[in-house]
């Protein structure tokens, strides 16, 4: 018998002005599972996490976390969960140690136990030497690690991480990945993670739900999701849009499915390695040779592209550069 850490049925969250952030999603997360919510910015990931962590009430639908209803018993839920929101929640005028001790005391630890727990966590996140410095002086990566450790003070059964590595450099991102992996594998902590990075979901999660515009569009393990795409993915880019259009006509008989975006043609084919030379020859003959080509097994981006008609990573990149997408 396996217990359900999180059960969500038909969750709808509407904000003032009829903004439908989450439009009827259902999913379950088992005890000890590593579950990821993958989707672009504005897909409804943060709203969902805020409902699950008792910061927002659902508009309709039912949400149970660790066996407690979010509407009826938020305090019991707060004792069972640890939450790292997208923005780190840290008072810069305190030291790392003070923040950890305070957090432990707020969860009912005695003064003595709070002190010990703070030291344990400082050691765990390799901040023991900086524990008595003001957090305002910490680097971005140190803050993230402290923020994560603050969620762990009361040894939560379920950990919610809202885009825990957004804006981090690869070194700090890997450090965070290692920590959450350890928590999941060695301590059996259930993890609910949201991310807009394919690699993050792919590397870490047992199971992934892809969310877009407030709806879950696909769910399964990374392998299962990739299988839905088909066999191989061939990406061809062309000088001009019309060339891509023409190439699509030329190659249509060989592909199961395709996507066309900005002079780039993505083909889903069985046995791509076998077909590719023939395809290139044919395109050459038609006078529309591709300027670049790539053959690869499907990625989660291909899954996203197939179910939504858009790329996920491009959106993520656009967001990082601070450019507003149309």
């Amino acid at each position: 018998m396996s217990n359900q850490a999180i059960v969500v049925e038909d969750l709808v969250k509407t904000f003032k002005g009829d903004v439908k952030a989450v439009q009827g999603i259902s999913f379950e997360v088992e005890d000890g599972e590593f579950f990821a919510f993958l989707g672009p910015n504005g897909a409804g990931k943060s709203t969902t996490i805020q409902v699950l962590t008792t910061l927002l009430n659902p508009t309709s639908g039912s949400v149970t976390v660790s066996g407690f209803d979010v509407g009826k018993d938020p305090i019991s839920i707060r004792r069972e969960i640890g939450v790292a929101l997208q923005e780190t929640g840290i008072d810069p005028s305190l030291t790392g140690r003070e923040l950890l001790e305070m957090q432990a005391r707020l969860f009912g630890f005695s003064k003595h136990d709070a002190k010990n727990r703070a030291q344990e966590l400082l050691d765990l996140i390799h901040l023991a030497e900086d524990g008595d410095r003001k957090v305002g002086k910490y680097s971005g990566g140190m803050r993230r690690r402290l923020d994560l450790s603050l969620c762990l003070v009361h040894r939560p059964k379920i950990l919610f991480l809202d885009e825990p590595t957004t804006g981090l450099d690869p070194y700090n991102r890997n450090a965070i990945w290692d920590e959450i992996r350890t928590l999941n594998r060695e301590f059996g902590t259930t993890i609910f993670l949201t991310t807009q990075y394919l690699e993050e979901a792919d590397q870490l999660a047992d199971r992934i739900s892809i969310i877009n515009k407030g709806k879950i569009v696909a769910s399964g393990s990374s392998q299962q999701l990739k299988k839905t795409v088909g066999m191989d993915v061939i990406d061809l880019s062309f000088q001009q849009n019309e060339d891509a259009e023409k190439a699509k006509e030329v190659l249509s008989s060989w592909t199961k499915d395709y996507r066309l975006t900005n002079g780039e043609l993505t083909l889903y084919v069985d046995n791509g390695a076998y077909l590719l030379p023939d395809m290139v020859r044919k395109l050459d003959k038609e006078g529309i040779p591709p300027i670049s080509l790539n053959l690869a097994p499907p990625t989660l981006d291909d899954v996203f592209l197939q179910v939504t008609g858009e790329h996920l990573e491009e959106k993520a990149v656009i967001k990082q550069e601070g450019v507003v997408s149309p």
């Binding site: 962590t53 927002l56 707060r78 929101l85 840290i90």
Partner: protein, 261 residues
């Protein structure tokens, strides 16, 4: 019982945290106390001659102007409660606190009590400077206690206002702007001269409806005349009324800030 002791611990922790934050950021309290002392020294130095006018009835100008210094310090100090909540909201610590089983009331009460502690220290300091400058408190030590209590009461009212404003706007600039009410409160009153000497009719009228006037009157009565019932009762009533208004405003705003819909 358990619930109540948790609440006390939560409030203690939240207060301790805010107090540490205040005293680690000297830019929060030093300018405020400097302004209060500046008022005291400059007004005393520049205006004390006017206490020879009969309307002052022989009172020392130092005793007359001291409440202005104390009240301005109290307003500035308790305004810090709102500022500290805005900082929490902006740096995300407020959400972190909401995610703990901590009492919501304690989260808002902590900065208010810390503001009161700051105000208490400040008021005592100003009184000590006053004594050093030659202040003679007519009602003695008890009078000094009354001055501190009135400052605390008035400060609490202003803390309620600043917290309410902060939680409603959730914006540092806006809540900073909200503290500008300081100027009409302190200066549209019997700030420099007794009521009888105010020239303009509009200022006479405004000073009558300005709650600060009654706080000044209460403080001045114990500093200058000794024990008199009426000014103290008026001051107490005014403080109770404005406290109930601003604290209601603060609780309604707090409810809205932690609202989950």
């Amino acid at each position: 019982m358990n619930q109540r002791s948790n609440f006390i611990i939560d409030t203690y922790l939240m207060t301790k945290r805010s107090t540490i934050a205040i005293f680690r950021n000297p830019f929060i309290f030093i300018p405020n106390i400097m302004i209060s002392l500046f008022f005291l020294l400059v007004y005393q130095a520049g205006l004390s001659g006017i206490s020879n006018i009969p309307a002052f009835e022989g009172a020392s100008y130092l005793a007359f102007i001291l409440p202005v210094s104390i009240v301005s310090g109290a307003i500035g100090g308790s305004g810090g409660a709102g500022q500290s909540l805005v900082r929490d909201l902006e740096n995300g610590y407020f959400s972190r606190l909401l995610l703990t089983p901590t009492s919501r009331v304690a989260i808002v009460l902590g900065p208010i009590i810390a503001g009161m502690i700051q105000l208490f220290i400040q008021t005592v300091l100003i009184l000590l400077v006053g004594l050093w400058m030659g202040l003679d408190i007519a009602a003695g030590f008890g009078g000094a206690v009354v001055v501190i209590l009135l400052a605390a009461g008035f400060g609490l009212a202003f803390a309620g206002y600043s917290v309410g404003f902060a939680l409603r706007t959730k914006d540092a600039q806006a809540s900073q702007a909200g503290t500008f009410v300081f100027f009409p409160l302190v200066f549209l009153s019997t700030t420099f001269v007794p009521y009888e000497l105010i020239e303009a009719d509009w200022l006479k009228f405004v000073s009558k409806i300005n709650p600060t006037t009654y706080v000044f009157d209460g403080m001045r009565s114990v500093l200058i005349n000794g024990w008199e019932a009426q000014p103290l009762i008026y001051a107490a009533i005014v403080i109770i009324i404005i406290c109930s208004i601003t604290i209601t405003f603060a609780s309604l705003s707090a409810k809205r800030a932690v609202n989950r819909d």
